[in-house]
């Protein structure tokens, strides 16, 4: 399939491998799918979930790696409850989804801080033990998990902004509203994050 025909499939990694690019799966079919889901169609809701949950999990694994699955489940509970009242296009849907996920993460973090329960593996995202071998492995086989691990080495705002721009497919203004920063700050954070990512990869001796 040529990459220019379907917007959801592109060549990846410079190797001619077709991978599915998340972020604009529905396109013109989104209003119909959303309306069907709001009227109770489980199949339509399943399509929405299959489109959004992998992206959501990748985002949550970067900003809340210790509780990504729980945060995703809580997010879907909230989304399902508010689904009949949601109005908007696909970009608004994704913005709402990730805003809900971000709030779930913040709420969970506050609960944990009140309870003073610190799991052993509860480390900040930027402090995850990433060895040089991880970068090499990521370059040998650029799997999604390896890419997430690499991105988790960035400061949280930079990683979050890059994920929301690239993975969730949101524009700068939407990301700025979501993270509560100005569009200029978001743009700067994204560029710094890319530059930092390039430095990490260079330090790992990765050359293509």
């Amino acid at each position: 399939m040529p990459a220019g025909i379907c917007p959801t499939w592109r060549f990846c990694c410079g190797h001619g491998v077709l991978v599915r690019i998340l972020g604009a799966v529905f396109g013109e079919e989104f209003p119909a799918a959303l309306a069907a889901a709001q009227q109770g169609s489980e199949a339509a809701f399943t399509r929405l979930w299959l489109d959004a949950n992998p992206v959501l999990l990748r985002y949550l694994r970067v900003i809340a790696p210790e509780a990504a699955e729980d945060a995703a489940a809580d997010t879907w509970v909230q989304v399902v409850r508010g689904l009949p009242r949601f109005r908007g296009d696909e970009a608004a849907w994704r913005a709402w989804l990730f805003t809900t996920a971000r709030r779930r993460v913040i709420d969970a973090s506050r609960r944990r801080s009140r309870r003073r329960e610190e799991p052993l593996d509860d480390l900040p995202a930027a402090g995850l033990p990433v060895t040089a071998d991880a970068a090499d492995e990521a370059m040998e086989r650029l799997g999604t998990q390896s890419a997430i691990t690499l991105l988790a080495r960035l400061p949280r705002l930079q990683a979050e902004v890059i994920l929301l721009r690239v993975v969730a497919g949101l524009d700068t203004d939407s990301v700025a509203r979501l993270v509560g920063r100005s569009p200029g700050a978001v743009r700067v954070a994204a560029h710094r994050g890319l530059r930092r990512l390039a430095e990490i990869l260079t330090e790992a001796g990765v050359t293509l």
Partner: protein, 236 residues
């Protein structure tokens, strides 16, 4: 002067420190990567690995990223699918209940009308004021009195003058206290078609006050409903 009332010469001279880590706004390569449009042709080689990492972030879902579907579907069924069915069921129930209610009102009204009509007809039949064919029908079906042509004997035919009625009906008052001409007006001049031979006038043979009342009520009331009959010829 500045906005705060301080002259420009009084402001400290702060040298602008260039932020080398902040990319210029025209960094189209990074912006293209962030927008998901891929690496442009003139991009630096240092961005190639970054582009590959970002592409890997958007790869197809792994199996472990689809494990929460059942729980999400259960939540969906509990909060969206079932309430939608319940809402639809409630709408149908309300529609059905409204239809039944409207039908009930119509049926009840029709039944009341029918009951009133039948009751009135039965009362009229037992009072003997129906037209002849209807009266005969009521006589056969519900045992109402048979149709009888009510009349009184002509005056001077030998019958004794009936006693004065006891009721306060105006016609009776007229009968009791009015002049004979008025009496004839009521019994003979106005109702000549009700005159029948004595054999056909069983009510007239009743004796006593009840028979008189029946004769008078038959004389007064059927005047509007009775069919016209030619007066019988006088017997010689």
């Amino acid at each position: 002067m500045t906005g705060g009332g301080v002259s420009g010469s009084d402001m400290p001279s702060l040298p602008w420190t260039a932020r080398t880590d902040v990319p210029p706004a025209e960094d189209t390569s990074a912006e293209a990567l962030l927008a998901g449009s891929g690496l442009p042709a003139g991009a630096g080689p240092e961005l190639r690995p970054v582009a590959d990492v970002l592409a890997a972030l958007s790869a197809r879902p792994a199996p472990d990223e689809l494990t929460g579907l059942a729980a999400a579907q259960a939540e969906f069924r509990r909060h969206v699918a079932r309430p939608a069915q319940v809402r639809q069921s409630h709408r149908q129930h309300r529609r059905r209940r409204g239809l039944v209610s409207r039908l009930g009102v119509k049926v009840g009204t029709a039944a009341a009308l029918v009951a009133m009509t039948l009751g009135g007809a039965a009362a009229a039949a037992y009072a003997g004021v129906l037209p002849s064919s209807w009266q005969q029908f009521a006589h056969r079906t519900i045992g109402a009195p048979a149709y009888r042509a009510h009349h009184v004997r002509p005056a001077g035919a030998g019958a004794a003058a009936p006693p004065a009625p006891r009721s306060g009906h105006p016609a009776h008052q007229t009968y009791r206290s009015g002049p004979p001409a008025r009496h004839r007006f009521v019994h003979h001049a106005v109702l000549p078609h009700l005159v029948r031979p004595p054999a056909a006038r069983p009510l007239a043979h009743h004796s006593g006050p009840s028979g008189v009342r029946a004769v008078h009520s038959a004389l007064v009331r059927p005047a509007r409903y009775g069919t016209y009959r030619r007066p019988l010829p006088e017997r010689e």
